[in-house]
């Protein structure tokens, strides 16, 4: 027992010293998450703001002028008055405008006479980016609705609509996209640091020949792995806390509740990611392949299949099934809930259980593939 403790101590000292001396692992653990979080946090904002919209008014009158002002008053639209639809089309084609609102000659007149309703407005939207296209359509409809109701009050033109839908956004009332993306990004950053860190370290020991002398020493394989896990676990947790701080301080994402569940989820996920990294690098023993594989099985799914950016429920069924294989989705669920909703057991418990299973499987698989031999 004392012998095992001594061996473990020796291995831990070795790992810590190596980490301290190796700028690249500190870089991966501390600088990379910061840079990624800042760049991605600032660049992925899905809330469109001030979309440029070309407006063609065939016959400018007071009501159409008023309509244009209403468009300009919307925080989401930046209308540009153009003379002809051809001009508008040019703006759309070159990407200088996302869409074009066409107000025909008879529009104002029709609108003033309820018996000739409805008045028609043409909205042409560039569909190259479908998401933005939908947002633009929503913004224009919203601005028109506002304009119409303010107008209606003056002109008593309008009856109450037959049915109205009031909506309430829970957990993120202003619908800030960074509130949803930053918790997801933390999961992404953790999969990356976790897997990349360990995927490279074991492969490096094989390539430099140090693994050979470890294997011929009395150290047990489980001790070798434990020492690596402990050290990189510490690094990973620190980089997670760093990411949480950046998220709450820089991006002002609220953190509702649940430090303990946060630590538990992070710990389980990190254990999984680290074990997966060890598994990969034990399997391929080559730094180049190890990093490629790490990218394929952790970073890509964490970005695409975790629900951080893209809605899992909207994916084709086979892809939805696939997402269950990548624990990033469980972590993203937990983080989005903890940050925005608080400790909701109905979300936390099943997802924590899934993370625990993933971590167990990954550690077991790692122990199974590491043998004491070179062949």
């Amino acid at each position: 027992m004392i012998a095992a403790a001594l061996r473990l101590r020796g291995l831990l000292v070795k790992e810590v010293t190596q980490v301290r001396r190796d700028p690249s692992s500190l870089l991966i653990a501390f600088l990379l998450p910061l840079v990624l979080l800042l760049i991605n946090g600032f660049s992925i904002t899905l809330d469109a703001r001030a979309v440029r919209l070309a407006v063609v008014i065939d016959a400018p009158t007071a009501p159409t002028q008023d309509l244009f002002q209403a468009m300009a008053a919307s925080p989401y639209l930046a209308p540009i008055l153009v003379a002809t639809t051809a001009d508008g089309a040019r703006l759309i084609a070159s990407g200088s405008a996302r869409g074009m609102l066409v107000v025909r000659q008879d529009f104002a007149e029709t609108l003033l006479r309820p018996q000739r309703w409805p008045a028609h407005l043409g909205l042409q939207v560039s569909g190259t980016d479908p998401n933005t296209a939908r947002l633009v359509e929503g913004y224009v409809a919203g601005a028109l609705q506002t304009w119409l109701s303010s107008h209606a009050l003056e002109n008593r033109l309008l009856a109450t609509p037959a049915a109205t839908l009031e909506h309430r956004y829970w957990f993120n009332a202003e619908l800030r996209s960074s509130n949803s993306i930053i918790p997801g990004m933390i999961a992404f950053v953790m999969s990356m640091t976790g897997t990349l860190l360990t995927a490279l370290v074991v492969a490096r020991e094989w390539e430099r020949g140090t693994m050979e002398s470890m294997l011929a020493s009395p150290a047990r394989m489980a001790e070798l792995i434990a020492a690596k896990l402990v050290v990189y676990f510490g690094l990973g947790m620190i980089s997670m806390l760093e990411a949480v701080l950046v998220g709450t301080l820089v991006f002002a994402v609220p953190f509702r509740d649940g430090i303990l569940p946060l630590l538990a989820a992070a710990a389980l996920f990190l254990l999984f990611a680290l074990a997966l990294g060890l598994f990969i690098s034990t399997l391929v023993r080559n730094q180049f392949l190890a990093s490629q594989l790490a990218f394929l099985v952790t970073m890509l799914p964490a970005m695409m299949l975790s629900g951080m950016l893209f809605d899992i429920a909207s994916m084709p069924p086979w892809l939805q099934w696939l997402t269950y294989l990548f624990p990033a989705r469980y972590l993203v669920s937990i983080l989005q809930t903890l940050f925005l909703a608080g400790s909701v057991n109905a979300v936390l418990l099943p997802n924590l259980a899934a993370l625990a299973i993933s971590a167990t499987v990954a550690v077991a698989a790692t122990l199974a593939v590491t043998r004491r031999r070179l062949d």
Partner: protein, 581 residues
């Protein structure tokens, strides 16, 4: 006269194969090995690269499971008792297995912890080993910043830490200069004497046959088979009275080699300094010296290498093509004047001047870090000198590098052709890069394949070729464009003796044809083939001359018949002492 002792390890019916890469057949690394490893001596595992030395050591360390046969270490079958065995062995892998980002002390403490050494034992043991290896002043240095010789000593300290009963050393002397090699032998011999009471034994793998002569017992491996398992004396015994030195007039040594090799009864002829070393076939009568192109034959002591070649059986020596005459330009081929190179504050090359005549084989020798590779790299145009002048083949490498490079050939120590291309594709690539016309390319590639005996392996992927063939291919590639000057960086380290002889015979032929050859090496065997040598120490040229000159300089009563290695060590040692004073 030997009383029976319990062996440290017994190997019976051992065979090991590696599963081949996707297309290749499985490779048999070892086959039919039966032997025992005895305590109290150094057992040499000797053979060229690829003979199976490393595989045998890894099997003994329990790192590989044998395909067939049994290995028992300390009487325990390795298949079941690897962990127990690991407590009692010390193993130093080929690249020393050190953590380069840990300090000397850090590496030692790690191994001490792994062996769970209590500090009462640990502290005195470590200080004893540090003192014995001279590493004590460097404990705070990073292992990665140590010189090759020091790394090796550190690897040795780590392996010796827990007083192993069996010490396994995998090619500890690769890439290390002769002085460091001697020190290493002294340390291991000392440790063996110290561990004699415990019944300690050492297994030392090496490709250097001269070094293996010092072993108590030698396992001679060739292509995975055990060629001999005996004392060095017993292996050399059949060579007694079959080895002679032939005096040849200066300047005719290489012609004499060709002549001698064709004489019946001569098994092997090679250049040794200003002599020719002749090995006769068993039972052959002593030939007339004049028939061999020399004047006087004197008997010489056999070497382990002679025994090795003898046991390999007589392979018909590769016919060496006669030299093609080429126009020889006037003036020296290489002229170096007051060459200086600094790296920051460090003066790597300090005012070096020498010149090399056309058709000469010139060797640059020196301990690790002495600056010989820096000089070498400046001469090939890989590095810019800080000051001084270097003219190569009449061209100025500094002002017109590309044009000057077109006239030189370069063969690196490490195989440095494209491993994933076939031999033919590699040759074709270099022919194109050297700007040969399409017709000339085809002719040059075809000629190279024929001349260098590569026709059979032309369409094999270069990375899969055996070492000797790779080395021929690398030489062929560096000669495609008929360069005036050939640069060789330890060209034959790790190659089996037969292939090495053939290689140097080719180089001799080239030199006769007027090609100038510059060699760097710390392999004394290679130095013997040179016409002239320069010894570099701490960035300065300390001696220049023929091998005989250099030997003559250190001849004394204490050393009446110094070898080139003796000369090297004495000259470098004297220089270092003079500087220290």
């Amino acid at each position: 006269m030997t009383e029976p002792v319990a062996p440290l390890a017994t190997i019976a019916g051992l065979r090991h194969r590696f599963p081949g890469a996707r297309h290749a057949a499985p490779q048999t690394a070892l086959d039919g090995i039966d032997t025992t490893i005895l305590p109290g001596m150094i057992t040499g595992v000797v053979g060229p690269d690829g003979a199976g030395k490393t595989t045998l050591l890894r099997l003994l360390a329990g790192l590989l499971r044998p395909t067939a046969g049994q290995i028992a270490v300390f009487g325990l079958d390795l298949a079941d008792h690897a962990a127990t065995v690991h407590d009692r062995i010390g193993y130093m892998p080929q690249r020393f297995g050190l953590y380069e980002d840990l300090t000397v002390a850090g590496n030692i403490q790690l191994h001490a912890d792994l062996h769970a050494m209590p500090s009462a034992i640990r502290v005195p043991r470590i200080s004893m080993l540090l003192a014995a290896t001279g590493l004590a002043p460097f404990t705070d240095r990073l292992a990665g910043k140590l010189s090759g010789g020091m790394k090796q000593k550190l690897g040795l300290v780590c392996a010796l830490l827990a007083r192993p009963k069996l010490l396994l050393l995998d090619e500890p002397s690769v890439g290390v200069d002769p002085a460091s090699r001697r020190e290493l032998w002294a340390i291991v011999a000392h440790m063996l004497a110290e561990g004699l009471a415990d019944g300690m034994g050492v297994v030392w793998a090496t490709a250097y046959l001269d070094e293996a002569e010092r072993c108590g017992r030698v396992l001679l491996l060739h292509e995975g088979r055990l060629l001999a398992d005996d004392t060095p004396e017993a292996i050399m015994a059949p060579m007694r009275d079959r080895v002679f030195l032939l005096d040849v007039p200066p300047g005719q040594r290489r012609a004499a080699v060709r002549l001698a090799a064709s004489v019946a009864g001569v098994a092997d002829a090679s250049v040794q300094g200003d002599h020719l070393r002749i090995v006769l076939r068993p039972g052959a009568a002593l030939p007339d010296p004049s028939a061999l192109g020399g004047s006087h034959l004197s008997p010489a002591a056999p070497r382990l290498e002679d025994g090795f070649i003898d046991r390999l059986g007589t392979v018909a020596p590769t016919p060496i093509p006669a030299p093609a005459t080429r126009p020889v330009a006037q003036g020296p081929a290489i002229e170096v004047a007051h060459l200086v190179r600094r790296f920051g504050d460090f003066l790597a090359v300090d005012d070096v001047s020498f010149s090399v005549a056309r058709g000469e084989i010139f060797g640059l020798l020196g301990p690790n870090g002495a600056g010989k590779s820096t000089i070498f790299r400046m001469l090939c145009g890989l590095l810019r000198p800080s000051a001084g002048r270097a003219q190569v083949a009449g061209g100025d490498l500094i002002r017109e590098p590309a044009a000057a490079r077109a006239r030189l050939g370069y063969m690196a120590q490490r195989f440095s052709l494209y491993g994933e291309l076939t031999a033919r594709e590699n040759l074709r690539f270099f022919a194109r890069v050297y700007g040969l016309s399409r017709a000339a390319q085809q002719a040059a590639v075809a000629a190279a394949l024929a001349d260098f005996d590569l026709a059979d392996s032309a369409d094999q992927v270069a990375g899969d070729l055996p070492l000797g063939v790779k080395q021929r291919l690398a030489l062929a590639a560096s000669l495609l464009h008929a360069p005036d000057i050939l640069f060789l960086d330890e060209p034959t380290s790790g190659v089996d003796p037969l292939a090495r002889r053939a290689f140097w015979a080719r180089i001799g032929t080239l030199a006769e044809a007027g090609v100038t050859v510059l060699v760097t090496s710390h392999f004394m065997d290679e130095a013997e083939y040179c016409d002239r040598l320069a010894i570099v120490s701490s960035g300065r040229l300390i001696a220049t001359g023929t091998p005989a000159d250099l030997r003559g300089r250190v001849r004394s009563d204490a050393m009446p018949n110094p070898t080139l290695e003796d000369a090297f060590i004495a000259l470098v040692g004297a220089d270092l002492r003079a500087r220290a004073a």
